[in-house]
Structures are given as structure tokens and as C-alpha cells.
């Protein structure tokens, strides 16, 4: 009996080592080398030369992300509200919408994502203190992240989880996820901030020591996305907290989130 057990254990060990050696390296070289984007669908763009302003896409956009500037008759997509369903590309009668493979969309100012100006100027955006370059540099060597789901559909959370898988291996940048906000330098927030999570998010923010960074991941966290203007949600994280970096996508792929995190550290 004892012999078979020890033999079994030996087999487990041997087979495990064999497996570990079998695949040399799975980790993608991104961002040192560009990602293979053959199959990646990224930001949709409107080709203004073919567009005849029929407004078909505007009427059918599920998150009301497409806007027309009536003064100069320009049409554009507010990427902060876009849920990347590409419905507009499907229904455009003159095929003026192209799907690019650009997924590195993270920005530090929300206005950079917008075509039309925000209706209500967010006050928090103004008072958000830009963290000094020096602190960013200190964080850049080693960053601890606390993830907070404030009402996402769990798509973004799975993609954040994906940062820990062998393909992305976030720890190679000295960045890792911690269990408590008290150990964190950065909050990675997903979801539109639901009514029931408001308090918890605020308390998590308060528990995080200064200086701290906040990154809003996904269309919901930036603008409320498809859940915008519901009785049970706030429209995005910046209605409640100052946000340092916005990562659009629905959900953004792990590399897009990685790009956003590195952007917050001024490393890309």
C-alpha cells in the first residue's frame, strides 16, 4: 500500500515537471513588442467622406454613443460610451464605419475619448490632483492593485483575472493584486457604480493610503455604458471619485487593461 502511494506521488511529481518543461514560454511579449492584431476588433471609426449623415447608426446605437455636431455637420463616436457591439457597422447603409484593430485606447482625460463635449462638466475631473511625476516613478517600480467591482457584468473582472494568467503574467512588471485596499496604490474599478456599491466603493477608496491612483476599466466604469441612467446606477466612477486613467472597451482585453495600468504609471 505504502509503496503504491509513494509511486503515485513520484508519478505526480514527474508528470508535473514534464508538463512545466513542455511549454517553454507562453507569455506574450506585449507591450515590448506589438500584439498580433489579426483577429482583434478594436475602436470603430466613421469615415466622414463616405458618411451621408443619415443618422441610422445614431438611432440604433444601444448606448447612445454616436453624436452629431449640428454646427459643422460632423458625426463621431464617443468612445467612453461605446460598448463595441459594432451594430453601427452592420447597419450603415453606405458602409462608412470601419472596425480598426486599435485596442490601446486608455487615456488620462475623459474628454480625449469624446467627440461631443460632456453635457455636465464633471467637477471631480478638475479637482483630481495630478499625482506628481515623482510618485508615479516610485509606483512604477512596484505597484499594488486592489480591484473593486462596482457593478460590472463580470466581463471586465474576468479580463483583469486574465492579467494573472500565463499569457499576460502581470507580475513581470512588478505589479500585483493585493487583498486589502490598505496595501494598495491603485484601485482598478469596474462597473457603473451601483446604488448598493456606492458606499463600499467610497470606503474602499478612503481605506487606500495616499498617494493613490484610480483606473476605471470598461465602458460602464467610464460612463455607465449600456446601464447608463438606470434608477440603480451612477453613471461611471468619476461621478464619485477622481479617475486617473480611463480604459474603454466592453470588456477591454487584458492587454488593453495592461496598457491602461502602465499609462497611469507613465510607463507607455
Amino acid at each position: 500500500m505504502l509503496e503504491t502511494t509513494s509511486k503515485l506521488k513520484g508519478d505526480v511529481m514527474f508528470n508535473s515537471f514534464k508538463k512545466i518543461l513542455q511549454y517553454r514560454r507562453l507569455t506574450l511579449k506585449y507591450p515590448m513588442k506589438p500584439l498580433d492584431t489579426t483577429f482583434v476588433y478594436g475602436k470603430p471609426e466613421i469615415n466622414t467622406s463616405t458618411c451621408n449623415l443619415c443618422r441610422e447608426c445614431m438611432d440604433h446605437c444601444p448606448s447612445k454613443a454616436i453624436a452629431i455636431n449640428s454646427q459643422n455637420n460632423m458625426i463621431g463616436i464617443n468612445i467612453d460610451e461605446c460598448i463595441f457591439c459594432y451594430h453601427c457597422a452592420d447597419i450603415c447603409p453606405v458602409s462608412a464605419i470601419t472596425i480598426t484593430s486599435n485596442f490601446e485606447l486608455a487615456v488620462q482625460k475623459r474628454s480625449d475619448l469624446r467627440f461631443s463635449p460632456l453635457e455636465t462638466e464633471k467637477q471631480l475631473e478638475e479637482i483630481a490632483k495630478a499625482i506628481e511625476t515623482r510618485s508615479r516613478r516610485i509606483f512604477g517600480r512596484s505597484l499594488q492593485i486592489r480591484e473593486v467591482d462596482a457593478g460590472s457584468c463580470n466581463g471586465c473582472d474576468y479580463e483583469i483575472n486574465g492579467l494573472n494568467n500565463p499569457f499576460n503574467d502581470l507580475e513581470r512588471f512588478g505589479i500585483h493584486f493585493v487583498s486589502s485596499p490598505r496595501h494598495a496604490d491603485m484601485l482598478l474599478v469596474t462597473g457603473p457604480v451601483t446604488r448598493n456599491m456606492e458606499n463600499a466603493l467610497l470606503r474602499t477608496y478612503e481605506a487606500t493610503p495616499d498617494p493613490k491612483l484610480v483606473v476605471a476599466v470598461g465602458a460602464c466604469a467610464i460612463s455607465g455604458g449600456i446601464f447608463k441612467d438606470s434608477y440603480a446606477v451612477r453613471n461611471g466612477v468619476d461621478t464619485l471619485l477622481p479617475v486617473d486613467v480611463y480604459v474603454p472597451g466592453c470588456p477591454p482585453r487584458p492587454q488593453a487593461i495592461l496598457y491602461g495600468i502602465l499609462k497611469a504609471l507613465d510607463r507607455v
Binding site: L26, E147, N164, T194, F227, Y231, P251
Partner: protein
Amino acid sequence: MQATIDNLKHTFPEKLNTYHIQHTNELYLEIDPINIQEFCIHLQKDLEGTLVSLFANDERQLNGNFALYYVWAIRRSGFFVVLKTQLKPDNPVFQSITTPIYAANLYEREIKDLFGLIPEGHPDPRDLCFHGNWPQDLYPLRKDFDTFNQPTHTKTIDDFQRVAGEGVYEIPVGPVHAGIIEPGHFRFSVAGEPIINLEARLHYVHKGIEKLAEGLSIDKCLYLSERISGDETFANSLAYCHAIEKIAGIELSPRAAYTRLVFAELERLTSHLGDLAGICVDVAYGFAAYQFRMLRGWCYILVEELAHSRFLRNINTPGGVRQNFLHNKEKQIIDAIARIKKELNETVKILKTNALFIDRIENTGILTINAARDLNTVGPPGRASGLHFDLRKNFPYSNYNLLDFQIPKHLNGDVNCRINVKIEECYISMEIILKTLELMPQGETIRRIGNLDPYQSALGYSEAPRGENIHWVMTGENNTIYRYKIRTPSFCNWPALCWAVNGNIVPDFPLINKSFNLSYAGNDL
């Protein structure tokens, strides 16, 4: 179905007002509110029915009343019985059925919070959706409530069930958890190490999806259904499309049906591999966890190559699929499946011979068959406890009836059985995909659905990776949604999880939780 109608007519000669059959497998019965309990008990005891959904609908604009729908599945014969009853708005009280039929518990509390209809005699009438922070006289799913109305917070009430006694203490966990998971609050009552009672307070991610759906056009609502629960995107959009297609009365083209089937099984495979990785993480078995994460990563790569979306978004559309996604991709899929199967084989072999691992999972978190049945546990946890059903077999949709496949059955109901069910389902999914590729004909992938008649309803369903997924859609005027009731498998399985952890030690909770792997977003809506 005729036998059931005869049976009901015979048992309740004067109480059955009207009945009609709709979309071949939905039997609608109209009864008076006073007779609800009697009918429900009869359906459960004598007709082997299972309560699979219970919801209200504000039909005051149509007939002046609120309506309640009790959806029963007669799984053995493959049809649904829907009991409909109307409540007068001036006295919105109905008889609770929770005491005889425990599965109704959370549905009735939800109806109380969102519609303000009072389940009389409910044993646990606490607030479910808003934790007490919502004004007393506002009911968001009534038609006269404005979607954009955001009333101010009143104080959150801390009304957990208390367990008292010498040495009993409470452990509060959440809503923000230690890992990268969704929010929810768990209140453990513990004596020493074993858990005496676990209460899960959910609805932290309640976003009002059902209200947002109302008034949306049919094609916009599709994108909302895709965002109910991220990792069940395809199952949810499939159930939604299924309901719309039933209302429109169109038959799917064979190629579209088979394409859906391939994606649905790929989603199951991806999800189960992720669950297995999570279980290995929770027992600190890093090697196996990384193996499964790698396998899951391969699935994502395959899915993205096929559909340009890692979460199977933007594929379904009412009437079919948006493009001919699998055109000339057969070889690619077969190669990827072969690779995944080989790696899974080898990993499972190592996993199953690891005595330390087996020691942790065997007899941990047992869910007995009686509890599973009473709580209507669905999906892999149900199948691990001996409830041998699957929508793909019992209520075949999307050409599943043309395929021959097995569904796993285990009896012990512990973490080990749930792992085994998931591993077996991975293999079955891969087999189904391969068979489908052989059977799939060429042809169109989409049929236009045209305009829908107003105030028509249908049940759409799909077997999600987590289990039975049932959506009920009622159309409004001008191709809009009047009411969209979503019931995901997680809503049924949360109480089962709370039951299964009793008597286990606290450190085993993450493991048991992961073996169920429930969606918070899908539960809270």
C-alpha cells in the same frame, strides 16, 4: 401535455378559468389568486413539476391589473405550465407559496421589492434588492416609475439572521472581497471551526436591467441581454433570441442553429476550464491552476479567431447569427479541440492522482439530493447531486435534439462530484462541437424577423454553463419590449451554496464557492 390538461380539469373542475397552448410547449392557465397555492402544490406533488420562475408584470395599462406568472417545468415530458393570475391594484396582496414550495422564497421577496405586491404569509419578508436603502413606497418595476428616478439613500438595514449561543461568533465578509471577484456580503455564523449558518446578502450589483429593457427596441435589448453576466454572454443572448424567434414564429436556418450550438459549447468549455482553474487556486495547487488557465487561454484564442470577441459578444441576433462565422474554419476548430483535449487529458490525469488534492475535495460541501430538489438546484451542481436533467436534453433547442450525447450523473453532491461533472462536460462539449462540424450544412445564417405583434410573450431558454437559463419576453408596441424577466441559473443556485457549506469549516468555503462558481451579476440583475 393533453394528459396534464385533463388531469387539471379533472382535479379542479371549477377553478380552472381558461387555458391555451402557445409555441407548442407552453401551457398557460388562468386561475384566481385564491387558488394559487392549491394549484402549485398539485403541480409539484402530483405532476412532478418544478417551479422554474415566478415573476410579476404590471399589466395595468392592458387590463387594469397586476399579473403574476408561475412557471413550472414538467421536465420529464418537456413542456412548461404557466399559471397566470391577476391581482387588483387596490389590494395588491397574494398568497405566499414559500412554506410548501421553498423554491419560491426569493422570487416572492423580489416581487415584493420591485412591484410592491405583498406575499401574504411569507416566512421571511425582509428586504432583498435594496438592503433597506430604498424608500418604502417606490417600486421600480411598476410602469409609473421613471427609469431615471434616483431617490436618495435611506439608511442600510443590518438585519441578518442571528445565531446565538455559547461560543457562536459571526464572520462578516465583503462586499469587497480579497480576490478579483464580484461583490457580495457573506455572514458566517460559526462555532469553533464549522459553519452553522451562512447568509449571502447579494444584489450589490443590482443595475435595474429588467427596467432598462422595458421600452427598448428588440435589437437594442439584445445587447443588454449580452451584458447580464459576462461569462454567460452567449447563453443569455441565445435565450433572448430564442424567445424573440418564438414570438416571431420563425424557424432557424440549420446553419445558424448549428453555429449557435458550436459557440454555446465553446462557452461552456471556456467557463468550466476557468472553474477548474479557480478550484485549484483555492486549494493552493498552483501547477494545475496554471495548466487550466493556459487551456482557458487557448479557448479564448480560438473564440477570438472565430468571432473577434473573447466573450462571444456580437454573434447572436434575433433570427440567426450576424455572419457566417464558421465559414472555412472547420479545420482550425478541429485542430484546436484536439490540442485542448490532449492537454486536458494529461492534466486531469495528474490532478486525479494527486492524493492531497483529492483529500481536500472529497466529501467537502455536500449538497444532498433532497435539498437540491427543494431548492431547484440546476446545472452542474444539480447533476452532481443526482438531479439528472439538462435543458439540452429535456427541452431541446437549436438542433440539440439531432445530436446524441450523454449528460453526466453523479450522486454524492460534494466538490469532487462537481469537479467530475465539469470535467466530463468539457469532454462532452468538445465531442458535440466535432459532431456538429460534421453535420453542419451550408446555407444562410440569418432570417429576418420582421415586425412583431404587440403583447405577445414567450419563454426563451438555454443551458448556460452554470445551468438552466430561462427568459420570458413580452413585446410592446412598435417592436419594443414590454417586460423582460431574466432568471439565470445563479439565482437558483445561491441558496444551494449556502445550504451546502453548513457543517464545513470556514477555510473550505472558498473551495465550495468556487465549485459552484455562481454569477453575482446574473443573480442581481
